[in-house]
């Protein structure tokens, strides 16, 4: 019978078991405390939400509102503010925030906006912005100027809620303050400024901002707002800008869908870059049957080397009424290019399905 040194092994096993037990209990206690805290915050947040609603309905006065708000933990208060800020706007929200602005928690958050880590400052900017308190413009503006990008974005969004055109002007002049931001996110930021953004954007478009992301975002935003005033400038950019600028200009003109742009867009169908041709074809489709003069150009693009151009041209023809459908039909039947025939047949089938299900979900893009 071999002699096994049981003692040291036993000690190791016991120690391991002890460590495991301690860790297991710690993990469970932590899990439980997080769960309880979340439940508590939820309940308190809902109670604050109810207090907000009752205050707005005139069922409780400001003292009772403030008393109710001050007895809940800060997380619950901000949860309630977040959910309320997303659901109501205007006079009601302004009345409510006027009562909240001098609460100790709000004052603490304001102080954090000036002093703290980047994350803390960004979160503070977001929270202050939710209150829609015009008196906070100065402090938010300073935070945006000081940066870094995380704080500048958060403060920018907060100022956008206040429709602060000066803030957008500053951002357009200092695009480096939002370094690393994607185009879509920048467009979203600009859109948050609402109609007050139009003038700063027009100025930025005229000056042609040097930073690429900002420039493209300006073009996209003007397109999304269908700003007719910017159309001539967009048409110029479509003809002479850099590749990405030309693509963005074509996209924006598609959003504008102005018949006056048919000429420049038709010309863009012959652009050297397939991305511009594809976007121009799509933009002509957005104009619809009014763009009938562009049908020959679009039909020619059904034989384009790029699949995207063929596809967009075919779908755009599908949106041009009987003239476009006729063009698609003749290509589908007799064109020598099989790729053009395939593109035309695909769209004709989609149009048939659309007719079969009027008001259905089939979209001919």
């Amino acid at each position: 019978m071999p002699h096994w040194p049981v003692q040291p092994l036993l000690v190791v096993l016991l120690c391991s078991a002890l460590v495991t037990l301690v860790m297991g209990v710690a993990v469970l206690r932590w899990h439980d405390s997080l769960r309880r805290r979340a439940a508590r915050d939820d309940t308190a947040g809902n109670a604050v939400g109810v207090a907000f609603a009752r205050f707005l309905a005139g069922q409780i006065d400001r003292d009772r509102l403030r008393a109710r708000v001050q007895e809940v933990p800060p997380r619950a208060l901000w949860m309630a503010i977040e959910s309320f800020a997303e659901s109501i706007e205007g006079e009601g929200w302004r009345r409510l925030t006027a009562e909240l602005r001098d609460l100790p928690e709000i004052a603490r958050t304001r102080r954090r906006l000036a002093r703290g880590t980047a994350w803390q400052r960004a979160l503070a900017a977001r929270r202050i912005g939710l209150l829609q308190d015009p008196t906070q413009r100065g402090v938010l503006f300073r935070a945006m100027e000081t940066g870094p990008a995380l704080v500048a974005l958060s403060a920018g969004l907060a100022l956008a809620r206040l429709h602060d055109a000066a803030a957008l002007d500053w951002l357009m002049q200092h695009p480096e303050s939002l370094a690393g931001l994607g185009r879509h996110q920048m467009v979203a930021l600009i859109k948050r400024f609402g109609p007050s953004a139009l003038d700063p954007l027009r100025r930025a478009l005229a000056l042609e901002a040097s930073e690429a992301t900002a420039r493209l975002a300006v073009i996209d935003a003007l397109g999304l707002w269908t700003d007719e005033t910017s159309r001539p400038r967009l048409e110029t950019l479509l003809a002479s800008g850099e590749l990405e600028t030309r693509v963005a200009a074509a996209r924006a003109l598609g959003h504008l869908a102005a018949p006056a742009s048919i000429g420049p867009l038709d010309a863009a169908l012959r652009d050297r870059a397939w991305q511009v041709r594809a976007q121009a074809a799509r933009a002509l489709g957005s104009i619809g049957w009014c763009a009938a003069p562009a049908v020959p150009g679009l039909a020619a693009r059904l034989s384009d080397l790029s699949w995207w151009v063929r596809r967009n041209a075919a779908y755009s023809l599908g949106r041009m009424g009987i003239v476009g459908e006729h063009a698609l039909g003749s290509v589908a039947e007799s064109d020598r290019d099989p790729y053009a025939r395939d593109a035309a047949r695909e769209v004709l089938q989609m149009m048939d399905w659309e007719r079969e299900n009027p008001g259905g979900q089939t979209h001919v893009e």
Binding site: T20, M23, L34, K191, E346
Partner: protein, 480 residues
Amino acid sequence: MWSSLLPRDSDGWVSAAVTVFAFATLVEYLILNLFACIQARRELLRRRLADRPSLFEGDLAPPISILVPAHNEERTIVESVRSLMQLRYPSIEIVVVNDGSEDGTLEALTSAFGLRPSLRTARARVPGGRLLGVYASPRHPALVVLDTENGGKAQALNAALAFSRHPLVCAVDADSVLERDTLLELALPFYHDASVVATGGMVRPANGTIFDLGRVAAARLSGRHLPRFQTVEYLRGMLGGRMGWEQLDCLYIVSGALGLFSRQAVMEVGGYRSATLGEDMELVMRIQRWSRRRGRRRAVRFVPAAVAWTEVPERLASLARQRARWHQGLAESLWLNRGLLLSLRPSARHALAYLSQVFVELLGPVWELIGLIVLLAQMATGRLDVPFAITYVGVFMLGGTINSMFGIALESVACPRYPRLRDSALLVCYAVLENFGYRQLTALFRLRGLWNALQRRHDWGQTARLGHAAVAEVETRRAA
């Protein structure tokens, strides 16, 4: 003086090697968990600041094509597609590939959605002769079904890529159920940071969880042992491992059941390779190499809040096959992407991560089983090397348990889903219990996968070409 510290016989050398490996593993996991904690905190902060409403504004959310390869999924496919149609995201299309199913997968889809032959054109080449038909539905314009000969998951995904039209593609398993906001969570990093090309989500075992019309009604732990062990493994691997590697910007694994990719990046690296059983892992490694060449930082992200639920094996035989396949996939992916280590422009970060994948993940079961055999042999012969035994028990078992505890704890912070304390308590128990049998069994299954990979080594090059041909873009169709 130093020579006295060296082992004197072969047993001693083996014990020393296993000990060194065990400590290296422990240190690596502790470091990863530390980074995972930092990452979890950052993730929490990021979520608080996330500008979700903007993503729903017109034209701002990047549209997503969901790719669903399906092979013999007659029983689940209709429900899966219906659940995908309910996802909260402004613009999606669903491309299902019936990959040579022998059951009624296509018929089930046809009758459920009113499919008809479609003239939809492909934007990239599909392997010649493999595509049997394209179907779409007038009632569901966002759904396309491709019928192909059986060519494996990678080929099916390549066919789906060829027909997908959106800039982001999300590969999901046909039997997975995505939570309603999963796509939104996965897309947020793309929206916030232009350098991101891939995001992976958290895959969780669905066994035990209650679903209602394709949605999670109540998250529950399974009543069976094997799924419980696997739940602990998933939490440990996904949260401790992937979040840690993401913080180090060396994430090589995005689960095949839930990954969102930039279509352009996938096409530029050549699409999915059918040369490996781990096509998802292999693709991510290639994307990492591609990103490094372009100087992109933090191109691959892990999003714990994006959750997909998937059935995990409840029988040992299925588990054995699955683990062997995964490990073979890991071996093949590492071999095919050795450029991460051997490059003209080496990156210390990637080299370290690659070596860690090789020595800790790939060869882990070898070390572990050798250690166990040595320990048992020593005990049987009465020549137990006490320091070695202590190291083995302390480091492998205690280290593994601590690692699992980190995973369970991180779940509470990063993506809490189990509301009942009882489920968490069970997970803690199974984190301890897995050291007594389950862990050794899975090591054995993984070893089999490694052996399979070594056996099939010479086939890799031959099949690799098919994978690349499948996704050659035809943007310039006549240029060639």
